[in-house]
């Protein structure tokens, strides 16, 4: 299949994603994926990347197509080069926008030539980068060959050559200006001595050290005022041939951008944006990995973490706690119980995020992972705003769960967080049992966070996990969620230990 898009194996899928931008999936808010993704795409707002993150893939091969690109991009130099290309293209677009706003033709023509030159250089640099990189992905290899052909085409060669020649001859012009009161005179330059150098050397001895430079900041307006215009016109009259060539260039190359290049420019941002996240976390030893995609209901994840919480902590120079999770040998549902604020909800979100990110073809936040290729991820999280009417809330809960169970297929994932909190314990137990039975009947996999311990031992296919506290300091949560029944012991706080003032801790803290 000839190359078409770096994001989609099928040209039709790429065209669809471009033509009909996907809306945010329903589970995004519950899973905090909106936050997690926002951190990646916000710095790249102009590329409108959200729709790509709202479009999960369907087949293992679609996912592999992106994994290949991510693997190629593990080389930092390639990422650096791609960012440079993106930066050059942004500069080119800004330049073009500003060109349109200028008034004086002599200036406008020059700006147009500059825009074309930025574009050409960006393309050439990109090809050089792709040629020197070791590429294995179908997508990047395909694009490289496509770009190679384009840059060898007569149209591109002549565009770049002419732009360079015109700009070079303009920059070679030097002129003199004599200013005396309200009169100025422009003449050709005659190699007079630099008076500022003479002054500089006279006052040199007074300039050593750390004196600040006054280097008057000149506000460089893009536009010219009528004095600058007059000077430019004088210079054009002194150098007529050069300015004629400039005018011709504008007519000859009116519409110079290539479609394959501009499409690549936006699509590659998907990878760059996500890689930024990976890099930030790598710096604090939080790994990402390429998940194995299982079509059987096996899940195995080591050191997974919640991307949204991880980011929030990262911003405070803190590290998110990692957790393991697995569903093996017919296990289907993880039931999480334990102390409040102990990381239960985070754990549930993590499970959902891992699977969603896997469907995007992205590396996932875990040091290793086998994840299930699901068709949809359903979430049911407590909605605080409905608390005004308790019976209404319970009813609302049940309606939503009913809808989920109706829509879910045996290939779906369901994540429930603290449901039935608004009713009596007996009710909650009864309802929970029934919902669980229905889920089991559908053979769904998922995570269920609950305060009802009994659910955890309800079914052979249920795995019980608990959030834990530090055995030495029961007031401190570890945010570790582990397999097993709840336990915890109260230990007296050691104040000195809290402040890191034990013998060993002090020795650690003071470098020898």
């Amino acid at each position: 299949m000839p190359y078409y898009s770096v994001l989609f194996r099928e040209p039709s899928a790429a065209d669809a994603a471009w033509a009909y931008p996907a809306a945010e999936p329903e589970n995004f808010v519950d899973l905090n994926l909106d936050q997690a993704i926002r951190h990646a795409i916000a710095p790249r707002e102009q590329y409108d990347l959200a729709p790509f993150f709202h479009t999960p893939l369907q087949t293992p091969d679609d996912i592999a197509y992106r994994h290949e690109v991510f693997r190629d991009m593990e080389t930092p130099s390639l990422v650096h080069d791609l960012e440079r290309f993106a930066e050059a293209m942004r500069r080119m677009r800004t330049h073009a926008e500003q060109t349109a706003k200028l008034r004086h033709p002599l200036q406008k023509q020059r700006w147009f030539a500059e825009t074309a030159e930025i574009y050409c250089k960006a393309c050439l640099e990109l090809l050089r980068a792709l040629m020197s990189a070791t590429l294995r992905s179908r997508a990047l290899v395909g694009f490289r060959d496509c770009l190679d052909q384009y840059l060898a085409s007569p149209r591109f060669v002549s565009l770049y050559g002419t732009a360079q020649e015109v700009l070079r001859s303009l920059d070679a012009i030097t002129y003199n200006m004599h200013i005396d009161g309200l009169t100025f005179t422009v003449t050709n330059f005659c190699d007079e001595a630099d008076y500022s150098e003479i002054i500089a050397s006279t006052f040199e001895k007074f300039r050593q050290g750390e004196v600040k430079t006054h280097g008057a900041e000149f506000r460089d307006y893009l536009d010219m005022n009528h004095i600058e215009t007059k000077v430019l016109e004088f210079v054009a009259e002194l150098n007529p041939a050069v300015f004629e060539r400039l005018a011709e260039f504008n007519v000859q190359f009116e519409d110079f951008q290539d479609k394959a290049v501009t499409r690549f420019d936006r699509e590659i941002q998907f990878y760059l944006a996500y890689r930024d996240l990976i890099t930030r976390f790598k710096a604090i030893e939080r790994e990402f990995c390429y998940p194995d995609i299982s079509t059987e209901k096996t899940v195995r994840c080591v050191n997974g973490f919640d991307l949204a919480l991880g980011w929030a902590l990262l911003m405070n120079d803190e590290r998110v706690v990692c957790n393991d999770v697995s569903l093996e040998n017919g296990e289907r549902v993880v039931v999480v119980t334990g102390p409040n604020q102990g990381g239960k909800t985070t754990f549930a979100r993590m499970f959902g995020q891992l699977h969603y990110l896997a469907l995007l073809g992205c590396p996932v936040p875990a040091s290793s992972a086998t994840l299930y290729l699901c068709d949809r991820i359903f979430t049911h999280f407590e909605r605080q705003e409905d608390i005004s009417n308790l019976s209404g809330k319970l009813q609302d809960d049940l309606v939503r769960i009913r809808r989920i169970l109706d829509e879910a297929t045996p290939s779906s994932i369901v994540i429930m967080n603290e449901i039935f909190t608004s009713t009596t314990l007996a009710d909650a137990m009864f309802l929970s049992q029934h919902v669980l039975e229905r889920a089991m009947a559908l053979d769904l996999i998922g995570v269920w966070v609950t305060f009802i311990d009994e659910i955890a031992s309800e079914h052979p296919r249920v795995v019980s996990m608990i959030s834990t506290v530090d055995p030495h300091q029961p007031t401190r949560r570890t945010f570790k969620v582990v397999r097993g029944p709840a336990e915890g012991m109260a230990h007296a706080l050691s104040l000195a230990a809290k402040y890191g003032l034990t013998y060993d801790r002090i020795r650690e803290r003071i470098a020898s």
């Binding site: 020059r110 700006w111 500059e114 303009l170 920059d171 012009i173 003199n176 200006m177 004599h178 200013i179 005396d180 009161g181 309200l182 009169t183 100025f184 422009v186 003449t187 050709n188 005659c190 007079e192 001595a193 008076y195 003479i198 002054i199 500089a200 006279t202 006052f203 001895k205 007074f206 300039r207 050593q208 050290g209 600040k212 430079t213 006054h214 008057a216 900041e217 000149f218 010219m224 009528h226 004095i227 600058e228 000077v231 430019l232 004088f234 210079v235 002194l238 104040l495 000195a496 809290k498 402040y499 003032l501 013998y503 060993d504 002090i506 020795r507 803290r509 003071i510 470098a511 020898s512």
Partner: protein
């Protein structure tokens, strides 16, 4: 051109923030009284003396000796130093006169101001240059000698004449020529002011050169925007020249500012010295030893804080603590322990800043960082909260401290029961010692001090506030092992039995 009176090779940085625990040092060592005497009402002297003292928590022997020599010269010729200080201050007046009032955004304004400022300040430089020879003063210190040699060399009469010629040219009575190139967006770039060449061609050829006739334009008289634009364009050419002149002005001004700043320290020393001399109290130049060694040896060291507070006679102490890393001071309440600790801290800081100290002999190793951890009486509240606060402060010190620092503990970790407090203090002290940190610890926790004493560490020294057989105090700190009681009973008796006590003027 540099003053360099605080460091051999760099300016004194008066803007540097105080060390992180600097406020604690000021409070715990009660440096306020001393700074007040030094400043004698001059705020600059106050600021600089404080910065120099607290900044001296990091110092080196060369710098200390360098300052001690200058200080010796200053104490020999106090009036000359004060005259020089007054001249440095008068430079500020010239600065206020114009240059700085003009808009600094426009090179033509900057240039105009700088030309004027340099024209006015040159005579003052000349005056300082000749001050030393006129007064017939000859200095011994490297710092002051070099200052006057530099001025002689840099400001020859020839050079001054040359500067004045340029200042005249830079008034641009017939406009100026600058070159430029075409750049991005076809706007001008690289504007450079030029020295016009005398045109060697016949004028007739110039007129006949029709291919490149000069292009001339005169603004309409009411074209104000145009006038502004043209002057801005000219500014691009002038910019470099203006910058050179402005930097020169700045540099000369910096020279005067640094001269004033650095002299302020010596003015402060002179003030304090004069005050101590009127009381007839001995001072000496201390002998610093490198930070890696361990030494603290003195005779007749008196607590400067107490001297200034009581305005008179204070019992001095002697000590020989060569190769000692840990000094534990125990003993009677109000026996002079705190005063002793403070006198060591102040002398250490004064030595490290290059000052004299209030002793007849003083020798100590430098410390890389001086920290105080004092019990805070004023922190009312729950005992546990207070203990918590002590540990928090200790933890802050641990964050900052490194080897060869000195920590002064005064009754630390006593805000809990003795067993716990002793254990925590023991762990902290041992850990600090293992990282080569020197410690002076005033404590009346017997379990703590005796525990350390029983270890028989060769690098530990145990001192005790002296107490006569009759229970009266001499305010002398002498060598001696910790005793089971801190004589709290004495205090109790004195207050409740109301027996007459000797010399109640001494506070701990």
């Amino acid at each position: 051109m540099k003053a360099y009176l605080m460091y051999k090779d760099r300016d004194f940085d008066a803007q540097r923030p105080l060390p992180l625990m600097g406020q604690d040092l000021l409070d715990d060592l009660e440096l306020g009284g001393m700074l007040e005497v030094m400043s004698a009402g001059d705020d600059l002297v106050l600021d600089i003396a404080r910065a120099a003292l607290l900044g001296a928590v990091q110092s080196d022997c060369d710098t200390i000796i360098y300052r001690q020599h200058i200080l010796n010269d200053a104490l020999q010729h106090p009036q000359f130093i004060r005259d020089l200080y007054a001249l440095a201050i008068s430079a500020q007046e010239i600065r206020k006169k114009g240059y700085w009032g003009l808009s600094l955004r426009h090179p033509s304004g900057i240039l105009h101001g700088a030309v004027e400022f340099i024209g006015n300040i040159i005579p003052l430089l000349h005056q300082i240059r000749t001050l030393a020879s006129k007064a017939g003063v000859s200095f011994q210190s490297e710092g002051l000698r070099r200052l006057f040699v530099t001025l002689e060399e840099e400001l020859s009469d020839d050079y001054i004449a040359q500067v004045q010629q340029h200042l005249k040219t830079l008034k641009f009575r017939h406009g100026f020529v600058m070159s430029a190139q075409i750049g991005n967006g076809n706007k001008g770039r690289h504007h450079v002011i030029r020295t016009p060449k005398p045109d060697t061609r016949q004028w007739i050829w110039r007129v006949l050169d029709q291919r490149h006739p000069p292009q001339r334009y005169t603004l309409a008289p009411r074209d104000e925007a145009g006038a502004r634009a043209l002057s801005e364009l000219g500014d691009r050419g002038i910019s470099l020249v203006a910058d050179a002149l402005a930097q020169a002005s700045e540099h000369i001004m910096n020279f005067f500012t640094m001269l004033r700043t650095e002299l302020a320290f010596y003015i402060g020393c002179i003030n304090l010295h004069e005050r101590l001399a009127t009381d007839g109290l001995p001072v000496c130049m201390p002998v610093p030893r490198v930070a890696e060694e361990r030494d603290l040896s003195f005779t007749g060291l008196a607590d400067l804080g107490l001297i200034l507070a009581l305005g008179g006679h204070v019992i001095p102490n002697d000590l020989v603590a060569n190769d000692r890393e840990l000094i534990i001071i125990t003993g009677a309440n109000q026996g002079g322990k705190s005063s002793f600790l403070r006198s060591v801290g102040i002398a250490q800081l004064m030595m490290q800043s290059g000052m004299f100290v209030t002793a007849t002999r003083f020798r100590a190793n430098l410390c890389k960082g001086l920290y105080t951890h004092y019990k805070r009486e004023e922190d009312a509240g729950m005992e546990s909260g207070k203990f918590d606060e002590e540990l928090k402060r200790m933890s802050q010190i641990i964050d900052l401290i490194s080897s060869d620092a000195l920590v002064l503990f005064n009754e630390s970790f006593a805000a809990t029961n003795e067993r716990e407090g002793s254990e925590i203090a023991r762990q902290i002290v041992n850990a600090l010692l293992s990282r080569r940190i020197k410690i002076l610890f005033v404590s009346h926790q017997f379990e703590f001090s005796n525990g350390l004493f029983q270890l028989g560490l060769p690098a530990a020294l145990f001192l005790r506030a002296q107490r006569q057989a009759d229970g009266s105090r001499t305010f002398k700190i002498i060598e001696g092992e910790p005793l089971q009681t801190s004589y709290g009973l004495d205090l109790y008796r004195r207050i409740f039995d109301e027996e007459p006590q000797p010399d109640t003027a001494h506070a701990s």
